[in-house]
Amino acid sequence: MITIPYTTALTTLFSYGLLFAFGQLRDLFRKFVEWWSSSNLHGYAPICLGLEDFYVRRLYLRIQDCFGRPIASAPDAWIDVVERYSNDYNKTLKRTTNTSKCLNLGSYNYLGFAAADEYCTPRVIESLKRFSPSTCSTRVDGGTTILHTQLEECVARFVGKPAAIVTGMGYVTNSAILPVLIGKGGLIISDSLNHNSIVNGARGSGATVRVFQHNTPSHLEEVLREQIAEGQPRTRRPWKKIIVVVEGIYSMEGELCKLPEIITVCKKYKAYTYLDEAHSIGAVGKTGRGVCELLGVDTADVDIMMGTFTKSFGSCGGYIAASKEVIEYLKYTCPAHLYATSISPPAAQQILSSIQVILGEDGSSRGAQKLARIRENSNFFRSELQKMGFEVLGDNDSPVMPIMLYNPAKIPAFSRECLKRNVAVVTVAFPATPLLLARARICISASHTREDLIKGLEVISQVGDLVGIKYFPAEPKKQQEEGRVKLE
């Protein structure tokens, strides 16, 4: 739960109100102009309806340059950000050939496998030469190479489940597998801040979806009791099955899931658990095995474990790990397995090699060092930020740390000022967060050195003073919590 100070809430609302009013005014003129230059598309309804892209036209375009900045290097600790310019008030951005070297606090490169790696890269290139970039076929046809079967075994072993299935994209893993597991007459209870892929998967499944308050096991219990007692709406039949979907680390809050409590509740009410470890697998836990390891949950208690390879492993794709039967069933009928091109072999090799490094099977202790480093780095950075008086969300050990900005004007200000000082940060606004809760998000990597982090902290502190986002006094006090509006 994020609390927002009264004055900040007021100024933020005022700012959005102003933007909205000006936007409407400009839209009014736009209507005249469009009517004047009558389009030749007579008889067609406009492809983007007026209000659908109002946000894009009138708000997003103004600060477009803070998003989607192209880079010209691997997303390592330091990146080459391509400079862009605009001749039409930010409507379009043109690339230049100039780049500036920036400290990367934005990529999900938790373990530092994004850049060329002494162990992984030679193996990846070898498998590229052996298997080519693609199989041009689905897993059930001619798209299963020995790498794919090795990968599935390796992932199952790493995660601690009997079997696993791998797909070529993390988003598709969620959105294509939920509909296989549950359908009409089933109930999905989803955390209110779950990722869009889960939302789409749940919507695509045809099951009823209920939401419980973010990371609140007590509310989950309440919802479960109510739903089991009431059964399906209208027909009042009992639910066929209930799946509770949670994430390991919430990417926009940096919070760890309260997994042990949630598992207890789910077990009590015979609901199945679906854990999305997109951000936590590889990044947390003593040996990188994710939140289960960190919080001491037996993986046998989680029915379905999902994760992606885009973050810690520096590759692409996603996996589902579960019992042998579930995986066999998924392999029989999951559309992502039957219809989608199989994961690119070099990418599969990258995952295999990086897991070997994490487990120390490469014959070095680099994996363990990386894991220790990410933890140290994250905790150092978080505590320093808190000491400076920023409002930082999330839990210790989590490499994701959002800094609250709130006011819309502070989004571009923070992002541009940081970039000017050669620090690349990610700012997150409306589609990904609630309108009032804009934030900057820092992702820490094991490839950051202590000097990198100190430089980053210096710049963020400077810019924080400039933009005015140190909402707490430098020495945070407990009383600050009072006198704030509760906002979800």
Partner: protein, 483 residues
Amino acid sequence: MASIVMDVMKTALDWVPGALNAPFARAVLFGVPIGGHYVVEALLVVVILFLLLQKSYKPPKKPLTEREVDELCEDWVPESLIPPITEEMNYEPPILESAAGPHTVIKGKEVVNFASANYLGLIGHEKLIESCTDALDKYGVGSCGPRGFYGTIDVHLDCESKIAKFLGTPDSILYSYGISTMFSAIPAFCKKGDIIVVDDGVHWGIQNGLHLSRSTIVYFKHNDMQSLESTLEKITRENKRASKMRRYIVVEALYQNSGKLAPLDVIIRLKEKYRFRVLLDESNSFGVLGESGRGLTEHFGVPVGKIDIITAAMGNALATCGGFCTGSVRVVDHQRLSSSGYVFSASLPPYLATAANTAIDLLEENPVLITKLRKNVALLWRGLAEIPGLSIASDPLSPLVYLKLKNSTGSFKKDSQLLQDIADHALNKDSVLVVASKRSTLDKCGLAAGIRLFVSAAHSESDLLKAAESLKRASELLLAGYN
């Protein structure tokens, strides 16, 4: 006592006729004098007031007690997560020990591969591997972020402009997975209240997109233009508000589920007549159809601008992964913030974008690949001409050659089992890898099962003849009882 009562009664009785005869009571309504109505009305008012003041009847509400809820929770038995595993679910796909080129290795044996949509034979191409190696050295494997958050690598932008330039469209947008292209692009443009007219043989990616859009979906018969026209006519006629809604026709250029070619000239005519927008999936036709591989629009000589939205997966002719969507600047820009598979997913690994770049270069430099592919398809057709028990259902131009049973058993499962037996036979006896179509339980497509052969420009004449002969032998043997 009694006399008092009698007195009161008498006075009252005296008063009643008096009251009734009172001048004010003798109201005249339409010439009819009405007596004493005020008394009646007053009584009625009293009764109404009395009734109004009563509490309305509500059945007593008794919420479940905690104990009852406990019991209900205790009693509830969920279904198992998956249905029981049966024999048919157990399928082991062939495991490749080398690249999925025209020849590959399975169980240590070299086989001819007809299972990969490597239409142009680019798998294993030297230049492709070379450019990928450079990209891997420079950018690493993954992009570690969505496009919005430092996941945009310069090669993505190069690839986008290259695709747009190749197709002659204003702009294009890259997706990180082929199957997610359609199911993200459709919901970005179609919302509740819009109408989508769609072929009933489209692949699952499109079906899922339609479902997620929540629009009104109307199906027409697979590749049947009369059915399309009558559907459009009906919608336009029946729906008074149709002109205010967004209307789309969704078709595949080359159907993955049948190998049929969409007659784009007719579709364009109908689209313009009824004013629908067209979404065209060119996954299997991009790089294949047309003189220079620009797809269905080039094949029919239709200007590409007439198609509003084109999507394609790059895991076929381009021999890489991912997908793209192309169209006007507005169409593309709208997706950059509204398309969930683009916004909320990590971007395409840079080396795969480089591969796509190189593949398009190769295609532009070697148009002979397309003629070679066409020759190979014709060759296979000739080879399969008199195959017993099977017939070719696909278009003569389609590099996806689709063989279906002449006499279906009536059930998809049995058909596909039969075809799988043929495929297994071809693999085990003659080392030819072909695949029978499989269908997910989520897939609503109702087209017949078939054996799919993906012809490649890299197949040699002997490969094609070998496959044809092998299939003939296998079907003769295994379909003997079905004719």
